[in-house]
Symmetry: C3
Subunit: 294 residues, 3 copies
């Protein structure tokens, strides 16, 4: 076969060429690789099983096995996560730092779990279509996204590189909801439907906030340094205070934009300025033209 001959002759050269290009740009020994990426996804699935323990194994859940299962999931995932954190930490950080980061995270799991229960309750309160908290846990993308976010956010706060973003992008893949792990989000948080939601790195979101699909909490244009590169580490994304509702497709931009508590932002609103507490913001654009075509 023509192809087989060609493969035998040419593949070594092409492989060498790909290897050379790649090595110009990526260091080999510090990267976690695609297998590390897959491992992070698996760690998140295990953490979910540990956080929602009677849901994790087989259809039957014998009471005395639940506790052992949670322990096993946590133990395995903790060791896997430590291994990956060691890979991505700067070389001058000791291995003990990786240990401590994992310990700090797992120690917070009971608190994280209680906070996620407030998110489940917020979904129940906020959606007339739901009939049970079981349904919310198994079929609401918001719960999947916020569970992963609350874990990734802890690692972000511990200054772990890359891994929190890989976690966030896993949630984005599964749900269409893109929350940067840097965003700070209060309890009783609910996103309905969720596809297209973007929440930026330096957002702060209060308690009892409800967001619909397609909402962007983003940055205005950002300043460049003398080399034309974006300056990192500036507050770029808005603050949403307690008890705010933001309807579908609204875009709120800017690090000094604050939506005051108990405000309602209408669908498709474009907002780059602060609004005081108790505001109602709605579009004043003209009604659409309706023309009868017959």
């Amino acid at each position: 076969m023509k192809l087989n001959d060609w493969l035998n002759n040419e593949i070594p050269n092409i492989a060498k060429s790909l290897e050379d290009v790649h090595k110009n740009y990526f260091s080999i020994d510090k990267t976690i690789g695609f297998e590390g990426q897959q491992k992070i996804y698996q760690i998140l699935e295990n953490f979910r099983s540990a956080l929602f323990p009677c849901l994790c194994d087989k259809y039957t859940n014998e009471d005395d096995r639940i506790n052992i299962n949670i322990g096993n999931k946590l133990r395995t995932s903790a060791l896997d996560l430590r291994f990956l954190i060691e890979k991505v930490l700067p070389k001058d950080q000791s291995l003990e730092e990786a240990d401590q980061i994992v310990i700090d995270l797992i120690n917070k799991f009971p608190t994280i779990r209680k906070t996620i229960q407030t998110d489940i309750q917020a979904a129940y309160n906020g959606d007339p279509a739901t009939t049970s908290t079981d349904e919310i846990l198994f079929s609401y993308p918001s719960i999947q996204a916020i569970t992963i976010h609350r874990i990734a956010h802890e690692l972000y706060n511990s200054n772990v590189p890359i891994i929190p973003r890989i976690m966030a992008e896993y949630a984005h893949q599964l749900t269409g909801i893109d929350i940067h792990p840097g965003a700070s989000i209060g309890e009783y948080f609910f996103i309905d439907h969720g596809t297209g939601v973007v929440i930026g790195e330096t957002c702060t979101i209060g308690k009892n906030v409800k967001i619909y699909q397609g909402v962007t909490l983003g940055a205005k244009s950002f300043p460049l340094d003398e080399h034309g590169n974006p300056i990192k580490g500036i507050k770029r994304h808005p603050n949403i205070e307690d008890n705010v509702v933001i309807y579908a497709g609204a875009t709120i931009l800017g690090g000094d934009t604050t939506i005051g508590h108990d405000s309602t932002i209408g669908g498709n609103i474009w907002l780059t300025q602060s609004v005081p507490p108790n505001s109602r913001v709605y579009n004043s654009q003209p009604l659409p033209n309706i023309k009868n075509g017959v």
Copy 2:
């Protein structure tokens, strides 16, 4: 190692704490668990193989094996589904009801299959980029979403809890199209691209309707009961009559909003009122400012 010691000492307590939190909120014996969720995804894949039978096994499809394969997929999935339905039905419903629900569903498969063929035809008619119905079946998210919807909708009509919503959310994950299983959708239905589409529980959609990405058929604000909880079971989402086209990003809200037959709704329209048949609805917002920056 520091982490290993810590895990040995602390994990049992943390596992106990997670178990206790969880048991406060979720009953163990009636839930289908994450494994049930995965099983539902697998049932849907098997149903797809049964509905499109010459596509389901290996690259070669010997004629006499096709029929056996369909039968095997249906049989296995029917038993798996019955098991899960038993888990979620209220305890006072007999097992025979679960049997009957599965029988009613499978009995409708030839009809469902014919209806999906009209959806495939609608995609072919509605998209100049496509070149064959094979391409539509293998690469159009609309077909995947509507196939799952037409199955989930039957279970919703049989009053099966949770499972139809898990099916719908599986479709949402795969396609970015979020159709509540309660929505009633006529034949020759096509969603182009699809990401961000939301179709609410009490929508009714006629025949030969075409929708583009980012369209919301949603609810206006909903009434609360005396405890401040949303009242369930009210008609909240619009009616779309036959032969309507709705362009990208349009938002149509409200249970008493009806889009009359043969109407066209323009992109990004925000509509909370009914329009008569044969209407053309388009934005009267001012043209954008174009400023030459040189």
Copy 3:
């Protein structure tokens, strides 16, 4: 059990009925099937591993095994792809054509890899939230989408049916970014966040273009032939020249619409006409009403 009896009696008939319906519409011997679809996803994963070679195997990457690994991934995937291309090519095309198509594709891999490096660089330059190119490779949906697109586009240019669209839809599933394999896209291309982006078949996009979530580069209404079917093969989607930035939610439509180089298109803009180079296009719609509700 009632269900078991029913399955034994009725499944053969229902299977026969499903088989008959299906055979009316789909030819068996030329289709790649759902297994072929899965195989294409696997080929793309292997190609990604070959393009980013030190990322592909285990956590340890011994230098002398990298080259062998790349070669093995390429060889296996090349043969799998040839098999599938043979299935979908019109019967009058020789097997040697399938061979040549695969050879042409793999030969371009070093060039494709270099172009993707420009896309990674564009992401680094364009997002203040990122901290390393490793992070971009592992957690930016834009890179996943454009990598798959640059492969699929080559097969589209070789007139391979169906397979490029299945590749594109795989990227769409993973990222929410829907790029038709026909679109022509220059180097240094970056899509931030990405969910809901749609880029049509006949788009041409220059160098150094940056796009945000929810942007549509689409078609206006399209002409029908005398049978009422859409006419295929017409230029329907816009041209975006070099150094253009398009903010979230903008919609640009039409085959004769050109966005001149170095222009900026504001968020949520609706544009169906060309704009000259160096333009800044922004909405002149009225500011939202802000009403203090207390």
